[in-house]
């Protein structure tokens, strides 16, 4: 496959699509599929035949606004229909070429206006199981350009210049990671894509894999060329069956098109990718635990150094990046690192995909430039808190992150700004809570999570999280004293400084951040034996008779 051949495929796919008057895109991501968008697609296809319309009905990946699903997008008019089902097929198909069906239309301009789609540029516009759809939107141009016109060093230079930082949560500069692996000595190196999206409340990786799997494969192939690897693994959660099946199909198609395998782009570059299924262990998102899991062992982390960049999979230099990081690579190579660096804030470049969930009107996936204020994301794009309730906190960063109160909504989202206020970017989950959530109970929820997910290798995490949980339960049940609170704070400090891996080191964060901003709720539970949100079931204190 050469660039000329790639252009031919793109041209003929576009010509094929241009034969139709309209394209009716039906969202078939996990969210919309659970509301039977597959039946909706069949109904639309049938209706188009019956009415003799010259339209193409296309299966696509996630369109983002899960709250309004199932979604249907008509191109080129860009009419978006919400809450669709098969019974509306006749009306919608009938309206094609004329006025859209007003009462079914989704008119949420403010939800889409401030979004900038880089990672999600194809989501909702292409059939995720058709590689030619991806190619028709400049897919694999970046890989073939890199292979024929750029040196591995040149590729790394563009990534470094882009300022891209790891999207899995750590925020480590991607260019620096790549150049470390490139410089590491050894003939055999590996590229690994971390798709073990374990943070509850985050689903951007699932969505990217389901909606645009070729983009991730292309990013991995470019990385492999840059660091000198010829073998890659994608580690995906077994809980994401649709992502696994679309990825399997995508790998097969890429091989058939000669974009994976030997002599890619008629060059000496060989690369292939295998899927490895996770088996439900949160800690496997930690890179050394992930390596152990791919090697078929228990997913327990090991101390670093040596870093995987030097000694990773089977002791070989290994590059591990997250799904969203790889999804950013092709556009950077296509449009230059400088273009990417033109978006975002001072030290956090580009865009970030967030999963907006919890007590918020427009739940779903959004992609915004770094530096956008939390307030804009929650109140404007997210449509605010529904049902007349009051905003209380937003939780970012999953079980390693923190809860931020309303006073913090004016900070712009970036790696550094979030750390400064006691939370982290994490993989991009953003869970909104209203006045019906008890912050002590929320902290206990997260600690219960890390306690269950602790691999048990190091004592501070294994025993510490269990003790934190016991103390928080005591507080929730109104049995705690102020001494217990002091103990809890001291314990947080110990776990933070003495745990082996990120899971343990960050496990006190939900406690520390709620203590920082919602200490009064802890005090209420302890001193007045009262849960301000009315969530915790505190029994009336037993009168002690003298």
């Amino acid at each position: 496959m050469t660039i000329e051949e790639l252009d031919q495929i793109a041209e003929s796919t576009r010509a094929e699509n241009a034969k139709y008057d309209q394209v009716v895109n039906v969202c078939m991501g996990t969210g919309c599929l659970s509301q039977h968008s597959d039946q909706l697609k069949d109904a639309l296809t049938k209706e188009a035949e019956v009415q003799g319309k010259n339209v193409m009905v296309r299966r696509t990946g996630c369109m983002g606004l899960c709250a309004a699903g199932p979604l249907v997008l008509v191109d080129p008019d860009e009419t978006l229909y919400q809450h669709m089902n098969a019974s509306y097929a006749k009306a919608v198909v009938g309206s094609l070429g004329g006025e859209p069906v007003a009462e079914l239309q989704c008119d949420l301009r403010e939800h889409f206006d401030q979004q900038v789609h880089v990672v999600l540029e194809n989501s909702g516009h292409i059939d995720p199981e058709k590689i030619d759809d991806y190619i028709s939107r400049e897919g694999y141009r970046a890989l073939l350009t890199a292979l024929t016109d750029m040196t591995p060093h040149g590729v790394i230079h563009q990534i470094t210049e882009s300022g891209l930082r790891g999207r899995g949560g750590g925020g480590y500069p991607t260019g620096l990671k790549w150049s470390t692996v490139a410089k590491a000595s050894g003939d055999v190196k590996y590229v690994i894509c971390n798709g073990d999206e374990g943070d509850p409340g985050a689903f951007m990786d699932r969505s990217v894999l389901e909606s645009d799997p070729q983009r991730v494969i292309e990013g991995m192939a470019i990385a492999a060329y840059a660091i000198g690897a010829s073998k890659g693994y994608i580690y995906v959660r077994a809980e994401y069956p649709l992502a696994v099946s679309r990825l399997t199909a995508a790998l097969r198609d890429a091989r058939r098109r000669g974009l994976l395998g030997n002599n890619i782009g008629n060059t000496a570059f060989n690369f292939d990718v295998e899927i490895r299924l996770g088996a439900g262990a949160f800690v496997c998102g930690e890179e050394t635990a992930l390596l152990a899991s791919i090697e078929g062992r228990r997913g327990t982390p090991r101390p670093r150094p040596p870093y995987p960049a030097v000694s990773g999979l089977w002791g070989k230099p290994t590059l591990i990046n997250n799904v969203e990081t790889f999804a950013n690579i092709a556009p950077i190579i296509r449009k230059s690192g400088r273009w990417f660096a033109g978006m975002g804030s001072e030290r956090s470049k580009g865009t970030k995909v967030f999963a907006l969930t919890g007590k918020i009107t427009n739940t779903g996936l959004v992609e915004v430039p770094m530096g956008l204020k939390l307030r804009e994301i929650i109140n404007v794009i997210g449509g605010g808190v529904p049902d007349g309730h009051k905003f209380k906190a937003v939780q970012t960063g999953g079980p390693s992150g923190g809860c931020l109160p309303a006073e913090m909504l004016d900070i712009g989202v970036s790696y550094d700004a979030l750390i400064k206020v006691g939370s982290i970017m994490g993989s991009g989950g953003m869970i909104v809570m209203d006045d019906t959530s008890c912050m002590v109970n929320v902290a206990r929820f997260f600690v219960e999570f890390t306690m269950t997910e602790s691999c048990g290798k190091c004592v501070p995490c294994r025993a510490g999280t269990a003790q934190m949980y016991t103390l928080l339960t005591k507080i929730c049940e109104g049995r705690a004293t102020m001494d217990d609170l002091d103990k809890l704070i001291e314990l947080c400090d110990t776990i933070k400084s003495a745990s082996l891996c990120g899971l343990g080191q960050t496990s006190p964060n939900p406690v520390l951040s709620t203590l920082k901003y919602f200490k009064n709720e802890y005090i209420e539970h302890i001193v007045n034996k009262r849960c301000p949100a009315g969530v915790c079931n505190i029994k009336a204190p037993v009168e002690v008779l003298a």
């Binding site: 996990t30 709250a67 509850p200 409340g201 689903f203 490895r276 078929g296 919890g358 999953g398 809570m433």
Partner: protein
């Protein structure tokens, strides 16, 4: 060194051939342990002693290590699942939208704790750590099918349908 001969299949149940196929595809390499266990679980529904021994021997992995892997990962189950399975997502978004109450109600109705199966073997009650459909929280999987914005009456109806069929 004599060539390694994998052990014979435990029975003529055709599913063992599928399991063997996964191991063969991976050249009976030790690192195929988790892949193979996935195949066993998807073919048989769970992992019993017999299966773990067979896989461990075939891949030349110590039995202790194979057992260690099985018990480390939540996805693997040592017990056969019930005829029906209700999996309640307990991820953060679902928790904020009341999945803890759904779980408590289901436990109360079925008289079992999560992770267990009713004594008649009809319904298993499981929990999941986020299935990634947070936009539709609270989410419940009924026999693997994802149902979003689950309400308590809706869940009770489903359990009732399973109980009387």
């Amino acid at each position: 060194m004599p060539a390694f001969t994998p052990p014979p299949l435990p029975s003529d149940d055709k599913r063992w051939k599928i399991v063997n196929g996964t191991m063969r595809k991976n050249g009976f390499a030790r690192h195929a342990l988790i892949e193979t266990l996935h195949t066993v679980q998807s073919s048989f529904g769970y992992l019993d002693d017999n299966a773990i021994r067979f896989v461990a021997q075939s891949l030349r992995v110590p039995l202790s290590q194979a057992y260690g892997v099985v018990t480390f990962y939540h996805y693997f189950s040592l017990k056969p699942p019930g005829k029906h399975t209700m999996t309640i997502c307990t991820g953060t978004a679902c928790f904020i939208k009341g999945s803890d109450k759904l779980l408590a109600e289901a436990e109360k109705r079925l008289g079992i704790a999560h992770g267990q199966t009713t004594p008649d073997g009809n319904i298993s009650l499981m929990t999941a750590r986020c299935v990634g459909a947070c936009g539709r929280a609270p989410v419940v999987l009924t026999d693997g099918e994802l149902v979003g914005q689950m309400t308590e009456p809706q869940m009770q109806d489903q359990l009732e349908r399973w109980a009387v069929e």
